[in-house]
């Protein structure tokens, strides 16, 4: 007994799905295509290995090696800071916090995850950058480290949620048997839960890394935006902040405009490679 309503609904669902998937594909292809146009003029190798970015000079110099490094550097600093903290926090949550308070803490962590990037940038600008200048006597507080710390706070919630999911399952599965042998929680967490959650941790790291690399506003406000070889205490530039700063002036269709898309495309490619790497890492861990 198929009613007209049934048929219309099924039709709508199909049409909307088709539309969504086409739209998304279109966006991805569009970014690829706009970047590709650029690579026809400037070889991709030159684009990613050259160090000078000067789109208004004559001749224009459009290479983003330093900027790619800057993007990776800031994100790596963020992960290096956030990962151990995130893992530790997730371990504590799965082993020591009961269901109800846990929901509340996770809610709080969700709230941190939801704080907009501009607010982080604002705090970074008002607190972190100034703190670096005052406390350490840096010439200027804008730095890879400032961006890294800020991003670390921003990606921490993602790391905790992802790790906690895996760790909680492991803890629930194995703690009764282990505790029944008189073994302490700490020991269970250390010898079973932590080593067995490697896959979850890897996934969390990649997810967080992706978030960090794509972050725009917060980073832009605290890294100084100088397209130079990044140093931990020096300024740098990242791809998203480059795009945000310059997309306003790059005329649609100009080389500069295509170069910005190309930069975005490079960012996506890095992410893609990371995810593929993660897939293989997970698979090899499965064996």
């Amino acid at each position: 007994m198929k009613t007209a309503f049934d048929k219309v609904s099924v039709f709508l669902v199909k049409v909307l799905t088709l539309f969504s998937l086409l739209l998304l594909s279109f966006i991805i292809i569009f970014i690829f295509k706009e970047g590709y146009t650029f690579f026809k003029e400037v070889p991709i190798l030159k684009f990613i290995t050259g160090t000078t970015w000067n789109p208004t000079g004559d001749p224009k110099k459009l290479s983003i090696f330093n900027i790619i490094l800057g993007t990776l550097y800031v994100s790596i600093v963020a992960i290096v800071i956030a990962l151990p903290i995130g893992i530790g926090c997730a371990l504590l949550l799965s082993g020591y916090v009961k269901e109800r308070p846990r929901l509340i803490i996770r809610g709080f962590i969700d709230i941190i995850a939801g704080i907009p990037s501009v607010i982080f940038g604002f705090i970074g600008l008002m607190v972190l950058v100034k703190f670096f200048e005052k406390a350490f006597g840096f010439a200027s507080g804008e730095s890879v480290l400032a961006g890294g710390i800020l991003l670390a706070i921003m990606v921490l919630p993602y790391i905790i949620s992802t790790c906690d999911e895996t760790m909680d399952k492991l803890y629930r599965a194995y703690s009764p048997v282990a505790q029944a042998m008189g073994i302490s929680k700490i020991y269970i967490l250390r010898t079973i839960v932590l080593p067995q959650s490697l896959r979850g941790i890897a996934a969390a790291a990649v997810l967080a890394f992706g978030r960090a690399m794509g972050e725009t506003m917060a980073v832009m406000m605290v890294i100084g935006n100088a397209p130079i070889m990044p140093k931990l205490l020096g300024k740098c530039q990242t791809i998203p902040s480059l795009i945000a700063l310059e997309m306003g002036m790059a005329e649609v269709g100009s080389l500069h405009y295509h170069a910005l898309f190309a930069a975005g495309f490079v960012l996506m490619a890095i992410l893609l490679i990371l995810n593929i790497a993660l897939y293989y890492v997970k698979r090899s861990l499965d064996r």
């Binding site: 009961k98 599965a173 194995y174 703690s175 009764p176 048997v177 282990a178 505790q179 029944a180 042998m181 008189g182 073994i183 302490s184 020991y187 010898t191 079973i192 067995q196």
Partner: protein
Amino acid sequence: MNVLELKDFRAYYGSKRVINNLNMAIKKNKITAIIGPSGCGKSTLLMSLNTMLEEAEGRTEGQILFNGKDVHSISKEEVRRRIGIVFQKPTPFPFSIYKNLTYAPIYYGVKDKKRLDGIVVEKLKISGLYEEVKDEIHGSALKLSGGQQQRLCIARALTVEPDVLLLDEPCSALDVKNTANIEKMLMNLVQDYTIVIVTHNLSQAKRISDYTAFMLDGELIEYDETHRIFTSPQDNRTKEYIEGIYG
């Protein structure tokens, strides 16, 4: 001799009482079976005996004596080490067979490689697993069959040299052959250990246990030597249950 003794024992989840005023003594080097319909509190009772109920957010009142001492006067770890428990679902750790069996000994400070090897071989032999797995002792324990996993879990529980072994429906997920294996193993073990087994397979209780306790709705209805429970139960409810609809 009584290894475990329950006095006026009650158990709760939150404010819900699931075991009510239970008195019972468990004899050394005997197999005691606990039977009763689903939800009557068998698992709860078992978990109370080695204080694991706390971890399941439960709470107890009354006394549990272990070799005459209140279990709460002994450290939790000590109680749990000396009273092992094996659950219905086999849960080997996601390690190798070897590491499963050395996990607890290492925790308790055994470092000598030879001694560890010795423990592994001994416990595998006791559980009748040795011949079956001796070539893949360093292979993942998760690759074993359900029955082998369950025997491994029993072997693992024995690595800490407990006095008492509690088993909660250890065979309910296993087939006939594996069940027979485990029953054989338990009957061997009882020379050195005291065994308490929860089962809903009455013929199993009949086959292997020395004493049987019948519980209903959180109360101990009858507790006696197995053959008496099965041949001449004193309480009508026991009789009904044993002749019960289930064959």
